[in-house]
Amino acid sequence: MTTRRLLIALPIIVLLFLLQSYFWVPTYEEQTRGNPQRLVEYVAASIGDAQLLNPTLSADSASSDINGLVFEGLLDYDENLNFRPRLATSWEIYEEAYFYVNEEAAVPGVGKVDARVLVRLINQAREEHAAREDPLSRSLSNIEAVESLPPRQFQRQISEASSEGNKTEVRLRISAPARIKLTLYGVDQDLFNNLAQLLGPGYFPSFRAEQYIVVEPAELEVKKKEYAQSYLPATEHNPVIIFNLRPGVKFQDGHVFNAHDVKFTYDSIMDPANVSPRLPDYEPIKSVEVLDPLTLRIVYKRLYSPALGTWMMGILPEHLLNGKALGEEARRRGLDPEKMSIRQSSFNRNPIGCGPFAFREWKSDQYILLDRFNDYWDGPANYLKYGYRIVPDVLTQEMEFYAGTVDSYGVQPHQVQRLKDDPRYQSFSGLSFGYTYIGYNLRREPFDDVRVREALGMAVDVDKIIRYVLYGQGERITGPFPKQTDFYEHAIQPLPCDPEGALRLLAEAGWKRNKQGWLEKNGKRLEFTLITNQGNNIRKAILSIVQDSWRKIGVDVRTDLLEWAVFIQERVNKLDFDALVLGWAMGIEPDLYQIWHSSQIGPYQLNFVGFKNREADELIIKIRQEYNREQQVAYCHRLHQIIAEEQPYTFLYVGKWTALLDKRIVIMERDKDGQVHYEKIKPTKTGNYTFYFNKWIKLPEMPTFAAEG
């Protein structure tokens, strides 16, 4: 009967057709053996897809992986996390400092002085202090030149939004007095403090800038002080960076790179139409000047020590993105040229930079392919191709790695034991940049008492958390700096796990155990809620472990898991929590302003625990302003110590990552005679194993190294 036969035959045909396709697909063995191309291609896998392949606009990790290969910055970090030259061959940092002549202040021993006398005074002092070793002498010998700038008159137009929302145009007529310009050999944040010894302690603070400003309309006279602050600051530090650029560097389209590209990159970040998330990094810049095609002069408005690091930003090619190019693109695509910004440009999906790999193809949520850039200034990479696959599931990533279609795999903590020493792979591990902590709301009782915070920290056995929750893949941490940098103070010991000691501390603070065993003070039980976000199983486990340890010493703690958005918006941002478990991801720069400075304790700010410490505040500012690394490290160690003493967080751990790599991948180098050497891949001191990526290559057979034994 036809119907019946049809009904049975149809699914069989469909399934047979589908199943026969198996015979067409190459097995993994065949893939590498019959396909030498596979050996010159590196394949990485990522959980998420890139968003925008433009270093000035993207903020996600997948995009920065690719941008790091396609684009090149002026400098980057070397093996030891020091800066090394890339597109810039060298740089020089010095300072131009200014102060207004305070006509009313009397200089000790001299009286009121004008600009000419001041210059002479300072020059005299420089000679006198030449060989001495006190702070003032050091500041003075750091001065390269002193000159006086004549008084000048200028106007400023600003628009001021009133409380009702309408704007008024304000005109400021400023007749500034004479000014002294000091050119320094190196940046000196204490310059004016030290000069005050020479010119009198009141010289700078007593400068009345208001008298030189006329505000129109007169109703806004009240704001004069504010305007004076910003337009006539008594003193001003202007650090300057001079970059000497590498000649003859080419973009991947053959265009030669020069200083205008750098300036263009800066301008496009500052252009409000592009909405660049990098803007805060470059906001302290006063001007970027192209001195000649290979020299740039960047002047900063104020002391900002992370400045140099911001130039690791990949440089955009001006000729492809300037107004003219964008206008043409808009016409081609039928868009409004007026509204066209870099954000809309198709460049973000077809990037061109100066990096070692050139972009070829991007299939959203599938892969991004790059080709080696043969004209790369530092010599071409060994790999001819780079494939970046988007595999959103960790288990499938693992399966792909075992089978050889992905060359590396980030091991999950519970697998490390099993895979670390597997002879089939090479493995690397290191510390992450980031840590997990318990944060206390210091505005609330009982967390306003440091003894309570310390006791709570002592009651928790962090080592056990690391051993059982992280499978040993973590290390204890005592403060807010990345553990693998110098900024971290290794001398500070983590809190011991000592529940008895914790009880003693709590007793000192007035908390005694009652009949039921709960801690009590003035008839009030020690009770609060510990919260964290949903979806992070490690934090969830920590929550229960911490709850259990605290309950054991008589703290009545409840726990709550909240959806991320609710957690952040309703609790963290509105400062409505007792204690929370959370983590920070960190960069290398030691700038802690947003997370630890006392000006950042309001709602929606990041110092949500409400940490306030005068010395810490000063140190945070000093760290931000210090250009001398040794000095900066010293400040960081002190800050680390203060935070460790104050225990606003119970610092828990920093995670460890482990990565597996195909054993056939090695470092290949050619010496002068063209002889090829192979070397095992070694991680740098900070654990970064991809540092020499450009020298990697995959061999057809697993290599043996004599030194390995």
């Binding site: 009967m1 119907t3 019946r4 009904l7 149809l10 699914p11 469909v14 399934l15 057709f17 589908l18 396709s21 198996y22 067409w24 697909v25 097995t27 993994y28 063995e29 893939q31 396909n35 191309q37 291609e41 394949v43 998420g48 897809d49 968003q51 903020a59 996600d60 909405v275 998330p277 990098r278 803007l279 805060p280 990094d281 954000r343 973000n348 999906r349 299939k363 959203s364 949520d365 599938q366 892969y367 494939g387 696959r389 988007i390 595999v391 959103p392 599931d393 288990l395 499938t396 399966m399 089978a403 279609t405 958005a565 609710v566 952040i568 918006q569 963290v572 997370i595 929606y604 990041l606």
Partner: protein, 319 residues
């Protein structure tokens, strides 16, 4: 007929309007904000966040945002916040990727369920029937992702062939036919997985439907006439048992855009379900709302089509 069409058009437009309002409201009222205005990134200052809000019109009142959004959508101008690409273009790309998965999955489901279900109904209570019942419940209750993992690990470790993605990575140099077959192979596992639950449910449904019809008088009459069993089952019973499936077929349509979030994520298949899921995680409002809106349209079109189909196949029904 005409009045039915007119009435249904008006009704569906009204429904669509409410759907548009609700899907817009749900997305905006849900807590959380686009990742670009992530409040916990120390690098983002207030000014940057504020500028993003302006760019995305997030600073305007909701009803204005609603109007702006749908104006852009209908003009084909709305762009994804995540990567600035046109939303419709993105959906179109992904739709083309999801389509083969959907077609093969549906094909497997519908071709397999009928013979299995009919056979079970004919041999009701027998060993075959009980086995299929057991299997059907097993397939319904196994979590999809678990089954997928088991299947992937099994296939990869036994056959040593790639199963992830739409094609084998790095096979671009191979011949035309090989590439096509490679694609077919990559379709196999995800579409079987996508079909399992469907087969289980549908074959049960077919079985029950057949049983119901088999008990009808006209089937008994056919048997009494002395027709061979096969003819009774496949001609008299099956035809009438098929009727309700015509309506079900119309409801398959929304599956076109829904895709399968879990299967697509596990197999790193760049389909529309995965895109929608990632858009939700990134709070990429334009993409979420547009996908919602289009699937609402498809649901409405689907029900409309099944109404029409029903009229065609069942002459007793007049509208």
């Amino acid at each position: 007929m005409i009045p039915f069409l007119g009435r249904s058009l008006v009704q569906k437009t009204i429904t669509l309007f409410f759907v548009s309002v609700i899907s817009f409201a749900v997305v905006h009222l849900a807590p959380g904000e686009p990742s670009q205005v992530d409040p916990l990134n120390p690098k983002f200052t207030k000014e940057v966040v504020e500028r993003f809000r302006q760019q995305f019109h997030l600073d305007k009142p909701l009803y204005q945002q609603y109007l702006l959004f749908y104006r852009d959508l209908f003009a084909g101008k709305s762009t994804s916040w995540k990567d600035g690409r046109s939303v419709l273009g993105k959906i179109c790309d992904r739709f083309i990727n999801s389509l083969p998965l959907f077609i093969v999955g549906t094909l497997i489901t519908w071709t397999l369920s009928f013979p299995v279900g009919i056979q079970a109904a004919i041999k009701r209570g027998g060993k075959y029937d009980r086995t299929t019942t057991f299997l059907a419940y097993l397939l319904i209750s196994i979590p999809g992702f678990f089954f997928a993992y088991v299947l992937i690990i099994f296939v990869v470790s036994t056959f040593q062939v790639p199963v992830i993605g739409m094609t084998t990575f790095g096979l671009s140099g191979a011949g035309y036919l090989t590439r096509i077959m490679d694609r077919v192979w990559h379709l196999l596992l995800p579409s079987i997985l996508g079909a399992t639950a469907g087969i289980a449910v549908l074959s049960r449904y077919v079985r029950n439907q057949m049983l119901e019809v088999e008990g009808q008088d006209y089937v008994r009459t056919a048997r009494a006439k002395g027709l061979p069993e096969e003819q009774v089952h496949y001609k008299h019973a099956l035809r009438n048992a098929l009727l309700p499936f015509v309506t079900m077929f119309g409801l398959v349509l929304p599956g076109l855009i829904g895709g399968s979030v879990i299967i697509e994520s596990i197999f790193s298949w760049p389909g529309i379900g995965r895109m929608a899921y990632e858009a939700i995680l990134a709070r990429d409002y334009p993409v979420i709302i547009t996908v919602n809106f289009i699937s609402a349209i498809l649901v409405l079109v689907g029900t409309f089509l099944s109404d029409l189909l029903y009229m065609v196949v069942d002459p007793r029904i007049k509208i």
